[in-house]
């Protein structure tokens, strides 16, 4: 085909239009047969993949080519609507062929199989093997197709709409190739364009979460395979989604620990960050919210409020949370010695404190799950009702593309009686 392409270029340069036309037709035929060959090979075991199509898969824009209308092998797959736990059908080795089997096989497994590779330690390992490029260094980015898969995996892990920053952090925590928020923004626009041009050509889409005005929630990413109720965002949903994110990450880390895998420090850091904002964690460690008392110490108290009481953590209000009403309040008395030590032990690399630098290697995932579930109970009913209402309105009022990507409702909102 390369030779044919060269011939076409020469013919065009020489202004031999008739020749160029016939050569183009020949090229099209060759491409078509190549495509058929590829389809046949794709259904065969993975190990049989030759080196032939690899360069094609690695070319930019492959994601679009493989899932667009021209690729019959993917368009006929049913869109996945459930998250299955079954292991990926492909056995992945470590050799170059595995890597090169590339994005197509990976995306087929993710899209068609339901994608939640992150269930269980072994599955997580498979997922990482699939997403992390062998030899990828920290500074290398993922290819466009890789970005899509990585975002999908991160979203599938937590199962709720998430902001790009959260996706990036999750992705880093799970040891995949680094992502940038900008890549995700581009991806989102591309997904919408793709859907509007050829609906359902891809097995799943990165889509929007819907606000109560049925517009796309700013900055949130969701998967088209989720039910509308999960993609709707009511007033309590950001908090509920935050808690679910913490629960899913904690469960994932617990599974990894069960499987004997050691999660990365980044994963612990992320869980620490999330856990820090959930009340009721950390009394076990004898600190308020699990952090050294320094963070609740005198810092942040300016001379203006020095005389005002600063109530302790309100963790005790969470029903079922550990240590009801016993959370020690911030005390300036505990500040000097312990505080300085804790300050010194904070890693300065990203300004993010390692909350258990003193010995333990992160918050206890079980405690995080427990505390998050306790708070979740408080919000769950109200949030579910709000989401169901938004989903109902979206179903009634919006066409399919609108349900996935939201509508600009400035004028509609202005007119809608409230």
């Amino acid at each position: 085909m390369d030779a044919l392409r060269g011939e076409i270029r020469r013919a065009v340069r020489a202004r031999e239009s008739v020749l160029a036309r016939s050569l183009r037709a020949e090229l099209r035929r060759a491409e078509h047969s190549w495509q058929q060959e590829l389809t046949a090979r794709d259904s065969a075991p993975v190990e049989e993949h030759g080196a032939g199509p690899e360069d094609r898969h690695d070319a930019p824009g492959t994601g679009r080519a493989q899932t667009g209308r021209s690729a019959p092998d993917t368009s006929d797959e049913p869109a996945p609507h459930t998250l299955s736990d079954e292991p990926a059908p492909h056995a992945l080795g470590d050799g170059p062929a595995t890597h090169a089997l590339g994005d197509r096989a990976a995306s087929r497994a993710l899209g068609g199989g339901g994608a939640p590779g992150a269930r269980g330690g072994a599955a997580a390992g498979v997922w990482r093997a699939r997403v992390v490029r062998p030899g990828a260094t920290g500074r290398e980015g993922a290819s466009p197709a890789g970005v899509r898969e990585q975002v999908c995996q991160a979203l599938t892990l937590i199962g709720v709409p998430a902001a790009a920053r959260v996706v990036v952090a999750l992705n880093a925590a799970l040891g995949a190739a680094p992502l940038r928020s900008a890549q995700i923004a581009v991806l989102r626009r591309d997904e919408e364009r793709s859907f509007r041009a050829a609906p359902h050509a891809r097995p799943y889409y990165m889509c929007a979460a819907l606000t109560d005005r049925l517009s796309a929630a700013r900055g949130l990413l969701a998967l088209s395979t989720w039910p509308l109720e999960r993609r709707a965002v009511g007033p309590l949903s950001p908090r509920v989604d935050f808690l679910i994110t913490a629960i899913r990450l904690a469960e994932h880390l617990a599974r990894m620990a069960e499987a004997g895998e050691r999660p990365s420090p980044a994963a612990h850091r992320l869980l620490s960050r999330l856990a820090h904002n959930i009340p009721g964690i950390g009394e076990r460690q004898g600190t308020s919210n699990g952090y050294p008392r320094t963070r609740h110490g005198p810092g942040g108290r300016t001379e203006r409020d020095a005389d005002g009481p600063v109530p302790g953590g309100r963790a005790g209000r969470v029903p079922g949370a550990r240590g009801q009403g016993t959370t020690p309040g911030p005390t300036t008395a505990s500040w000097p010695a312990a505080g300085v030590q804790a300050d010194m032990s904070w890693p300065v690399s990203d300004g993010e404190p390692d909350r258990f630098a003193a010995g333990s290697d992160g918050p206890d995932p079980a405690a995080v799950v427990r505390a998050a579930r306790a708070e979740l109970e408080v919000h769950a009913a109200g949030d579910a009702a709000a989401r169901a209402e938004i989903a109902r309105r979206a179903r009634e009022a919006l066409p399919e593309a609108g349900r996935l990507f939201g509508v600009a409702t400035t004028t509609r909102a202005a007119r809608r009686p409230r």
Binding site: V166, P238, R295, G300, R304, P330, T411, A414
Partner: protein, 382 residues
């Protein structure tokens, strides 16, 4: 003065202010600019120029004293990043801080983004949306919502509407609204830089005033807006947010006085020569066509009250400083010295009184005695 007369007077003032400004649209005020008004309430020049909505930056540049203002892009990026951190995941960090600081119950975690109403809405529409939802919150009480992100408030400044966007408005179970101000300067060991903390308090006071005004317009008690604002800053050398309550009653009082003064700017304007204008007469290309010397005379016709603090808040600061230096004014030495030298207008006069070469005038005897004492002590020491 009855209502009609007041209205008529206001229209005359507005007309006069339009003439002072020239043929350009008035420059909208933002919270920083309004807060800066409270920083130097005694300056008639600033009051008149702001009331007329004049672009002070362009005026200063044309006068040959451009102000090196504008924040560094690094500072802006850092500020935005810190704000994003605090507001991440439905204001998860902020909720923790409010639970610790104000005792917010766990059940109250609702987050409403008032800026996200689909499409690219106008300021007017966003303000209407904010108004509707905060009205509902004030009426319904508990369960109406807790955190309101990107609200858009409005404040009338001398007849013009200024739209203001506080970082977050928190509505608590006690039926009180709190303004949350997120700033990226660090609070190290419990201490923040006084200048920055004061500027943040002034800015937050503007929001408090705007929110109080809005509740009042909606028929609610303006006292439901807490005068304690929640200031969120990074703590120590990490990026971890910490919150503190800052009482802004004093800043509110100053701001109210200053805004009332701007509304009554007519008395200041009446004293100005008729026909005075600060019009830059820009050409089609936007380049000012008015001779700089003429503009200088016009600006000098309004009295300024320069203080070194102006260097961080006013676009015309270098012009006023140059003017004060030319007149040997004691203003240059700072407010404390100026107040201590009450009744002595220039540095030359103060030196003359100190070395005895100048006889003290009426009422200057006391300050002259102190100056001579200081001069004697200085001579002995040096």
């Amino acid at each position: 003065m009855n209502k009609d007369e007041a209205k008529e007077r206001r229209e005359v003032d507005l007309d006069r202010l339009d003439r002072l400004r020239g043929a350009v649209p008035p420059r909208p005020h933002d919270a920083r600019a309004i807060a800066a008004l409270a920083a130097n309430p005694g300056c008639a020049r600033r009051s008149v120029l702001d009331a007329a909505g004049i672009d002070k930056d362009a005026t200063a540049t044309h006068l040959g004293f451009p102000a090196p203002f504008g924040r560094s892009p690094f500072a802006i990026t850092r500020g935005n990043a810190f704000e994003a951190l605090v507001k991440e995941s439905g204001c998860a960090e902020l909720l923790r801080l409010l639970r610790e600081l104000l005792g917010l119950p766990v059940a109250e975690a609702a987050y409403t983004d008032l800026g996200d109403i689909g499409g690219d809405p106008s300021a007017h529409l966003r303000h209407a949306h904010t108004r509707t939802l905060l009205d509902r919150a004030a009426r319904d009480g508990a369960g109406a919502g807790t955190l309101y992100d990107h609200p858009l408030l409005r404040l009338e400044i001398a007849g013009q509407s200024a739209y203001l966007e506080p970082d977050v408005v928190a509505f608590l179970h006690g039926g009180r609204f709190h303004i949350v101000e997120i700033k990226s300067f660090a609070v190290i060991d419990g201490q923040a830089e006084p200048d920055k903390a004061a500027a943040a308090a002034r800015q937050a006071a503007v929001y408090v005033l705007a929110l109080k005004t809005m509740l009042e317009e909606l028929g609610h008690d303006p006292g439901r807006v807490a005068h304690d604002v929640v200031l969120v800053c990074p703590e120590n050398f990490a990026n971890r947010p910490a919150a503190a309550l800052v009482d802004v009653r004093r800043q509110l009082a100053v701001l109210r006085r200053q805004l009332a003064r701007m509304t009554r700017v007519g008395t200041l304007v009446d004293a100005l020569p008729p026909g005075l204008t600060f019009d830059l007469a820009p050409g089609d290309d936007g380049v000012p066509g008015r001779p700089a010397a003429e503009l200088r005379e016009a600006v000098r016709a309004v009295e300024a009250r320069y203080a070194p603090d102006c260097l961080s808040t006013c676009d015309l600061c270098f012009f006023c400083r140059d003017e004060a230096a030319g007149q040997e004014s004691t203003d240059l030495l700072g407010r404390q010295v100026r107040d201590a030298l009450g009744g002595v207008a220039t540095v030359g006069e103060a030196l003359g009184l100190a070395d005895g070469s100048r006889e003290p005038g009426e009422g200057q005897e006391e300050i002259a005695r102190l100056l001579r004492l200081a001069d004697r002590m200085y001579a002995e020491l040096s």
